[in-house]
Symmetry: C2
Subunit: 434 residues, 2 copies
């Protein structure tokens, strides 16, 4: 009866008291509230939203539904970065060791790929032997000794989110900014961080298709972080084309190593420097953004970031030799170019189609239970503004099994728009919310 | 996956195709769709509504989730009346035999009381021996031979509504005009009627507190009926005070018999004549409303309605002697007057409080499983506009168990407003929607 009353209160546009939200999430995580009542409540939240106070309580209750990583014994700033998910977004992989090399620890709990966007865990696991399933105690040890550790969600952290996400997935309540924000932020707060940089992707390949929605999500997440005493900054960055040249798990690890060597694509390196600079500011290792960015650039030049990455790979059981000789990473056996149909400039790239092309050749998952091929993916050959002649390769698909090659080819071909004039330059950072 | 897609479609404000709705309700009734998905969908309907085409499909699918009474072998018009529920609303009891006596058959499947409103079944069951649980075949026989039969919902009729109503009750999705309309209309259409008169109550004691909401509900229900080929008319009638003098099960049966004898309260008799007149028009036994009303009045004067009521009671196993000697009906042992606190005119009666007073002395149910005392209730002694002196009885509570008598007394006392001027006269019929 209490729950039905709570649903009606929210349904009628009234705010729920923090205690009510806390009890609700606790009882749901404990299995005391049936899914049908939670489903109805989630749909009321979809329509009525949650105000700042409700949201802080909601995220806090999710957070306290399980264990919270205790990093209090680890000295200094502990800052993580979270991206809402893009195509070719390997930024976390070079970023974490670079920030660690500059003196700010990075406790990073990441996710797997689903649909057209990849996942950091899947990418890291393409390094032979690399373990992402470390227990929390070992994770804390990695953060303390190496300075950066990257693992997957454990059973003990934020169990309410796991149950709730599964329910949202089948009840049409995923696409709610407060629910997305609470889900992301509860998991990030559970890492025990003191600071957090959010990378909210905007554009065709992103979950947020418009700047308005992205800004709304950014503000909501920053509000939750701030209310929980975590310095939180959100960058809105462009997802109008894949990040870097590589899309696919091992391919993106190889490109991450190029970034750490100072040989990475400009856009990827720029993102790493910008976000890393801010992480150093939040972690107290730099006084200004410029100072932070300079420190990250130095850590690239000196190889300190690459060394730290080696340490992290070693700590997590990976084959360190594969870092120095990327030919030891899994590699697809076959390649096929997707040619430009006519001469002109690349004026548009539909990232979702590019991401799906990598998925259909085996590099991604449609469903959680799908098994991925770490070797496959594609390499972008022509980015926005590139001049191409008819027949020039737009992208090269790297594949093992030709079964879905034609589908992937068609997706890439349809992803590209070729025009007579080069497109206007777009800034990488669209906005900063803090 | 299909269901999650359907939920999102509706959530985003798009109409669902009739085939989708039909499959949805079929699968839900068959237990193939879990409650959590239906709960989310019901909440989207709460927020987004259903258009006329969706509603007709929804009500039709509910209707066809079970058996539909086949009255095709019974000649002539078959017309029912449904009230959205009021306090002291015993209208169905004299109405059905009067309409039957005028040549239009009345197949009536009614509900039980819940909360502050009573239910026709509970009232009828205060007649010793009266059975409301007849099987469908016997119901058809009653309609064919007696001309009127009044039973409760069976397991075989509209099973989807039973499951869905239970879910709505605990998920905050009861108060939705399309869902209320589909629930009511599917049950009425399942009776196999050719015409239907709806009595939508408006005011403090009604489910619909405002004329706007009541009109919206009326239009929605009339739309569903019309699309299903059933001539449907809705009356919006005032629920600003209890109907008649009696509130309570056996008390209301006794008052119904007074109506059939031509000795009933004016308001109750007027409602019976108005609604009955329209039922005769819809059933083809009267050319105009005036003609229909005159026929009903005649059936009261001649005693034809009372005779038909006797036949119906006999057919349904009730003690016919209790009709002629109402002292054979259950009667409470004790009485307590609720006095007027000061002299003046009765300017307002909160029907919900009056209904709850009858409930707390044992005449109603808070929960479906509560057992009621058919004898108890209350008798209104001063209606709107009555002149009272301080100490004059406003109402008399008739009770057996004094446990909650003081609560009932306080409810009645708080229900009455006494002022210096008599209130403006209010019409019984506020509007007609057809």
């Amino acid at each position: 009866m209490l729950i039905a009353e709570t649903i009606r209160t929210k349904r009628d546009g009234n705010a729920l008291a923090p205690e009510v939200i806390e009890e609700l999430i606790r009882a749901y995580a404990a299995g005391e509230i049936p899914d049908y009542q939670m489903a109805a409540l989630l749909m009321t939240v979809y329509f009525q939203g949650l105000d700042e106070r409700e949201l802080a309580a909601w995220a806090g209750a999710m957070l306290h539904s399980g264990e919270v990583v205790d990093l209090s014994a680890v000295p200094g700033g502990k800052v993580d970065k979270h991206s809402t998910g893009g195509v070719g977004d390997k930024v976390s992989i070079p970023l974490a060791p670079l920030v660690a090399a500059c003196g700010v620890r990075v406790p990073m709990i990441s996710g797997r790929g689903l649909g057209h966007t990849g996942g950091t865990l899947d990418k890291l696991e393409s390094i032979p032997g690399f373990r992402t399933d470390l227990p929390v105690a070992r994770f804390v040890e990695g953060v303390a000794t190496v300075g950066a550790c990257m693992i997957g969600q454990t059973d003990t952290l934020v169990p309410a989110d796991r149950r709730m996400y599964a329910l949202r997935d089948v009840t049409g309540t995923v696409e709610s900014i407060p629910l997305i924000s609470a889900s992301i932020m509860s998991k990030k707060l559970a890492e025990g961080v003191s600071g957090l940089v959010l990378d909210v992707k905007v554009g065709s390949g992103a979950f947020m298709k418009t700047v308005e929605r992205a800004r709304d999500l950014a503000r909501t997440m920053v509000g939750i972080g701030t209310r929980h005493g975590v310095k939180t900054v959100a960058y809105l960055t462009s997802m109008s084309q894949p990040i870097g040249w590589a899309v696919g798990n091992a391919l993106e690890v190889a490109e991450s190593i190029e970034v750490l060597r100072g040989e990475g694509p400009d856009d990827t390196t720029a993102l790493v420097v910008t976000l890393g600079g801010r992480m150093l500011v939040l972690g107290g290792a730099a006084a200004t953004q410029d100072e932070g960015e300079a420190a990250i650039r130095r850590a690239i030049e000196t190889g300190a970031g690459l060394a730290r990455f080696r340490d992290m790979v070693a700590f997590q059981g990976g084959d360190v030799a594969a870092i120095d000789e990327t030919s030891r990473l899994p590699r697809a056996r076959s390649r096929r170019d997707v040619p430009a149909p006519l001469a002109g400039y690349v004026t548009g790239i539909d990232c979702e189609k590019v991401g799906l092309a990598a998925l259909v050749v085996g590099g991604g998952r449609r469903r959680k239970e799908d098994v991925i091929d770490p070797a496959v993916g594609l390499r972008v050959r022509a980015r926005l503004g590139a001049r191409v002649e008819g027949g020039d390769p737009l992208a090269t698909i790297e594949y093992d099994d030709p079964a879905h090659l034609d589908d992937a080819h068609a997706l890439v071909a349809r992803a590209y728009r070729i025009g007579d004039e080069p497109p206007a330059d777009e800034p990488l950072v669209i906005d900063i919310v803090e």
